[in-house]
């Protein structure tokens, strides 16, 4: 693989991870990833980094907030059953 291909693959990487590429671009990215160990390792790294950011930075809602939000409702759920 030439450096040019790695450069192009890297430009496609973010969109590929975000599932925002066109079908044609997905094919190009995958073709390159299949044949290039360097990009494949880095792609896996980016993927695990993203999963790790998502899981570590996601904080659950504190206890008690749901009750406060429910009190903001204008309707009484019992009054108009679905």
């Amino acid at each position: 693989m030439s450096d040019g291909d790695c450069g192009k693959c890297e430009r496609l990487l973010q969109g590929y991870l975000d599932r925002e590429l066109t079908t044609q671009e997905v094919v190009e990215a995958e073709q390159h990833l299949n044949g290039c160990d360097y990009c494949r390792r880095r792609y896996r790294f980016e993927e695990s980094l993203r999963v790790y950011v998502r899981t570590t930075a996601a904080e659950r809602m504190p206890p008690g907030l749901m009750e406060k939000l429910a009190q903001l409702r204008s309707t009484d759920p019992g009054a108009a059953p679905l």
Binding site: D18, R42, E46, Y52, T56, E59, R60, L65, R73
Partner: protein
């Protein structure tokens, strides 16, 4: 014409049906509260601010529920309200978005880590070992908010580029460029820590 609908039997049915729609709306909105909070929490610096922001969001959402179009993305609709409220509140003054040139490559952090520990540090477990939860949260908080908002919506909120564009009321191309820069800033911060 001119008579209130409630004077008619049809009107009474309509009122009852509207009440049901409203209950359903409120139930669906509340079911998304945890996901809304997760995004809010990374938009602001403290838990208390995030709780306030989410409460204000729901108060406004419950008031203006009729402007929501059923069948569209309710989570994005709620986040749009939240984002506007957050801007209205006047966020902390921040330095101008970092104008310093960034590394030329997306693989910057990966390559830095390889330099310091060999190719095997790219294995999933090693990534987790090297980057602590605190370092990720702090690095995210350090990114100027224009960039951070997009990273938070896409990476933590799992929104598409199109949804993020709608929530933030910016063009999709801007979402993509801010996302790209935001992630690079994040990786540059993480690199400082990971290779120490």
């Amino acid at each position: 014409m001119g008579e209130p609908d409630t004077a008619e039997p049809n009107g009474a049915r309509r009122v009852a049906s509207e009440a049901r729609d409203r209950v359903r709306f409120e139930e669906e909105a509340l079911a998304l509260a945890d996901q809304v909070y997760r995004v809010a929490r990374r938009f602001v610096s403290t838990r208390e601010e995030a709780e306030d922001l989410v409460q204000d969001t729901y108060a406004r959402a419950f008031r203006s529920w009729q402007s929501y179009t059923p069948g569209t993305n309710l989570r994005a609709w709620l986040l749009r309200i939240l984002t506007n409220l957050n801007v209205d509140r006047g966020r902390r003054l921040q330095r101008r978005p970092d104008e310093t040139p960034l590394e030329e490559t997306d693989y910057y952090l990966a390559n830095k880590m390889v330099e310091s520990g060999g190719e095997q540090v790219l294995d999933q477990d090693r990534v987790v070992e090297r980057l602590s939860q605190d370092s990720i949260v702090n690095a995210l908080a350090d990114i100027p908010h224009d960039f951070r908002d997009v990273v938070v919506l896409v990476d933590i909120g799992d929104f598409s580029y199109a949804d993020a564009a709608q929530i933030l009321d910016i063009p999709m191309g801007t979402v993509m460029s801010r996302l790209h820069r935001g992630r690079r800033l994040l990786k540059a911060r993480l690199a400082e820590e990971a290779v120490q």
